[in-house]
């Protein structure tokens, strides 16, 4: 209900954990227990009895990046239809039974990961029902034909709607310009959806939702013995699919490009970017800390200062690296009224160029470290946030001490490393630019 939704001071994007990665500090981090279930699934568990509740997530290397290029959209349908009916429960019964116990189900889906999560009270009466339903959705999805047909129609409607929205048009053009044919840049089109068949879903599910590829994250009010039993219960009947868990390599160097797309909106939506960095890359920490200074650090970043604070040209302006299995995008974004879009674009490019050429000051570096390290406790202050860390650590095979080690890594970053990493990775003369709602060319 929107009536009383307040409006916020800023459009600073609170990027999800997968983007921001993980931090640590001297403060206590949760103790992560890790084992492999008999099913082959890898399990990550934090035991905490403060609240009578449990959060669980099961994820697979089955995100949109794993779609067969000839069958785009299948990965999304598989993930989206895990709750469309299962052994003994149709979709209405799944919804009703979960509501009856106040349990909350959610889907995870991005270019790398796909999965389901569940939040439930930890009392046996609720927990057992919630986990039973989760186990069945994960391991016995039916993908009913009629629901597939209905959801195809809905998705086609949503895709057509997206084609009218400047932010969607920009994101799509940007993906293509940065990643060309790589799946990180692919958008689903209406004809892709039209040709999807139920058998495609079955096949994808069987090959990609494999027990040995699964990561089970458990957070909350459970004993170790209960956690072990649950992890097995959620994965023992998964298929033994053999699909590759590796995505193709990204072409890191791109040609400079600029697309100007007409749109009647009052603002121009500007995106500038290039392929960025993979999660496992040793440059990751310098790039992350550097980006905090460039455009990641909310009100104190250079882009925010130049575009918004000094000149009032935009409400939202940001930059980020999306560290994925393969190098995800480095992206700068802003919206500004058409009449001043060219000026804002010029200013943004100049800010980036100066940053890449000259690097950061000792003072800026210290401020960035102070915020990232000092703010670490806020990143693990709830069960929900810790669950996401567990999933990420498991999915990307990060070391179990990753949380503890992170602030150490951030603390070690030097101004020279930031300068060096940006110079090698970000080439202001070879970036993709997209302007939707572009001003008339003079």
């Amino acid at each position: 209900m929107r009536t009383n939704w307040p409006i916020m001071r800023t459009g600073v994007i609170f990027l999800s954990l997968i983007i921001n990665a993980l931090y640590s500090s001297a403060s206590a981090t949760p103790t992560i227990q890790h084992w492999q279930a008999a099913s082959g699934a890898r399990v990550y568990f934090v035991e905490n009895h403060d609240l009578p509740m449990l959060d669980v997530a099961v994820t697979f290397p089955a995100g949109s990046g794993f779609d067969d290029p000839a069958k785009l959209g299948v990965a999304g349908f598989v993930n989206g239809m895990l709750d469309a009916g299962t052994d003994g429960l149709n979709e209405d019964e799944i919804g009703r039974k979960l509501a009856d116990i106040g349990a909350q189900k959610a889907s995870q889906f991005d270019p790398d990961r796909a999965g389901l999560s569940m939040r439930t009270l930890s009392y046996p009466a609720q927990r057992e029902v919630a986990l039973d339903i989760l186990a069945r959705m994960l391991q016995r999805p039916l993908f009913p034909e009629a629901i597939l047909a209905r959801e195809k129609v809905r998705l086609i409607a949503a895709l057509k709607e997206a084609e009218t929205k400047p932010e969607s048009i920009a994101a799509k053009a940007f993906g293509k310009a940065v990643f060309a044919m790589h799946p990180y840049g692919t958008s689903i089109e209406v004809p892709d959806v039209e040709k999807i068949q139920r058998a495609d879903l079955e096949n994808y599910y069987r090959s990609h939702y494999a027990a040995k590829a699964a990561v089970v994250a458990l957070m909350g009010d459970l004993t170790r013995a209960q956690a072990e039993a649950i992890a097995q219960q959620l994965t023992e009947k998964l298929p033994d699919g053999a699909a590759s868990t590796q995505l193709p390599a990204v072409t890191i160097h791109i040609q400079s490009s600029e697309q100007r797309i007409a749109h009647p909106a009052s603002q121009s939506h500007i995106l500038i970017g290039t392929p960025g960095v993979a999660r496992s890359d040793p440059d990751y920490f310098p790039l992350y800390v550097g980006n905090y200074i460039l455009g990641g650090g909310g009100f104190v970043s250079r882009l925010m200062n130049e575009i918004r604070e000094k000149r009032g040209m935009a409400y939202s302006v940001y930059s980020y690296f999306m560290p994925m299995q393969q190098p995800g995008a480095f992206q700068i974004g802003l919206q500004t009224k058409k009449e001043q879009a060219d000026e804002a674009l010029k200013l943004t490019r100049a800010t980036l160029r100066e940053f890449v050429e000259k690097g950061v000051s000792a003072k800026e570096l210290q401020a960035a470290k102070d915020n990232i390290i000092g703010g670490f406790p806020l990143r693990i202050d709830s069960n929900k946030k810790i669950l996401e860390y567990l999933s990420v650590i498991g999915f990307y095979n990060l070391p179990l001490n990753y949380l503890d080690d992170f602030t150490v890594q951030v603390g070690r970053v030097s101004a020279a490393q930031i300068h060096d990493a940006f110079k090698r990775r970000i080439h202001p003369d070879a970036m993709a630019t997209v302007v939707v709602g572009a001003p008339e060319v003079k």
Partner: protein
């Protein structure tokens, strides 16, 4: 001390954890500032929030949006903390900060490590009475707000539709004006308008300070006294009471905007909760919203999206709390090949069915079980708990009614829900907004749906 929910029992009839109230402490300083502390020791963090009882509904014709503009200006410096320093110091302390404005209130917050409360209090108390509003900074920030309006409303057909719906449904109440303000008023606004707003409403006796997290209430009170205690109380403007007269007949409006799909919003005037003990209608409407749209298998989604496939999206909602009245809203997008008229008819059919036949015991119980579980889940977020306290304080009900509200929700009967639907869901009380999608100019009729670069 850990939060203990010892009066929980197992099974479906869960009791509400009233014990959470045990960790809430309050004290009012000599200058009228109310301080509320919610101790929660799960993580070594805290949130400070300051809520001012002044929102867009307190604005005057010609200066709509000034509450929100002032909120932006609050980050522009004081005598002792120059422009930009507020955010820098919070960031250097590892903090996150922001602010928000609604129809009813304006609030500021910082989230930090538990050791950083003195800094947060020093900065927040300073700008409560020392803000320096310059024409130069105002001139820049008002442009930011105009960009915000373009992004949030002018270029977002559904938001624009909602803005026009509010302006149509309300004729007397200031909820008719958007929180962000009309563009004309933003263009005409001056630093003096913002200054006037600041002088009128930013006083300790018009604010509530909330600190939640890993803190000791006594220490917080002491720190609050040191930082905020010295700020002088000021007489506040007379707060006008507003009322919306009965609508007396259906209203309809159409908005044309660039979009692919049409959209429909149906909004019925409703009251909000004024007396938590004796009111019944707002609780019944809360439950009604849950029965229509509280889960994926609730009535609206099941009937209209899944079975009849008349809608591709559908929602129903109601907010029972606020300084002013509220609306019960149904909102949806017709499926391909269906019109908004088809969708409206289908929604009406569902509402009539509910009014005629009532709701089942299972549906009622399902909504209540979700309410109970959500009370536990909310304990996972210190920020949200502080938000809830701040909202209740700012609208005049007070946080102490929260457990009363939970108890009353559990007592709602099927008959009350049916009666509430009959009373509220009437055409005379209804405003309907329709989005009439327009092609994007400069765009040829598409063949394959590809976007072409120009």
């Amino acid at each position: 001390m850990r939060i203990r929910i010892f009066n929980f029992c197992c099974g479906l009839l869960l009791l509400v954890p009233f014990s959470i109230q045990a960790e809430v402490f309050e004290k009012t300083l000599g200058n009228g500032l109310k301080v509320i502390v919610k101790e929660d020791h799960r993580a070594p963090v805290l949130v400070q929030q300051v809520w001012y009882r002044a929102g867009s509904m307190d604005e005057r014709t010609g200066t709509t949006g000034v509450a929100h503009v002032l909120e932006h200006m609050m980050f522009k410096g004081t005598k002792s903390v120059p422009m930009g320093e507020f955010s820098k110091r919070i960031a250097a302390a590892g903090g996150r900060e922001n602010a928000f404005t609604s129809y009813d209130y304006t609030a500021y917050f910082q989230q930090l490590h538990k050791s950083k409360l003195p800094l947060a209090m020093q900065l927040e108390s300073d700008r409560m009475h020392n803000l320096q509003l310059t024409a130069e900074e105002f001139g820049k920030e008002i442009r930011v707000v105009m960009e915000e309006r373009r992004m949030r409303t002018d270029d977002e057909p559904h938001a624009l539709m909602y803005e026009k719906l509010m302006a149509t449904a309300y004729q007397e109440h200031p909820y008719q004006h958007p929180i962000i303000g009309w563009m004309n008023d933003l263009e005409a606004m001056t630093a003096a308008d913002a200054q006037e707003w600041y002088k009128s409403w930013y006083a300790p006796n018009n604010a509530v300070l909330i600190v939640a997290g890993d803190v000791d209430a006594k220490a917080v009170f002491k720190l609050a006294e040191q930082n905020y205690g010295k700020i002088k109380a000021r007489p506040l403007p007379v707060r006008k009471a507003y009322r919306e007269s009965p609508q007396l007949g259906i209203k309809r409006l159409t908005l044309k905007a660039p979009a692919e799909l049409p959209h429909l919003i149906m909004a019925y005037h409703t009251p909000t909760l004024k007396n938590a003990e004796t009111d019944t209608l707002p609780y019944a409407l809360d439950v009604l919203a849950g029965i229509l749209d509280g889960n994926e298998s609730a009535r609206m989604n099941t009937a209209l999206v899944r079975e009849q496939q008349i809608a591709s999206e559908i929602g129903a909602g109601y907010d029972s709390t606020g300084r002013g009245p509220s609306m019960f809203v149904l909102e949806g997008t017709p499926s391909a090949g269906k019109s908004v008229a088809d969708l409206e008819a289908a929604i009406r059919e569902q509402l009539l069915k509910l009014i005629r036949e009532g709701v089942s015991a299972e549906e009622l119980q399902r909504v209540k079980a979700q309410v109970t579980a959500n009370e536990v889940y909310k304990l996972d977020s210190v920020f949200y708990q502080a938000m809830q306290i701040g909202q209740m304080e700012s609208i005049g009900l007070g946080y102490k009614v929260l457990p009363v509200m939970l108890k009353k929700l559990q007592e709602v009967t099927a008959q009350q829900v049916q009666d509430a639907a009959r009373e509220i869901l009437k055409d005379d009380n209804l405003t309907i907004a329709v989005l009439d999608p327009q092609p994007l100019s400069n765009k040829p009729k598409k063949a394959g749906g590809n976007i072409h670069a120009h």
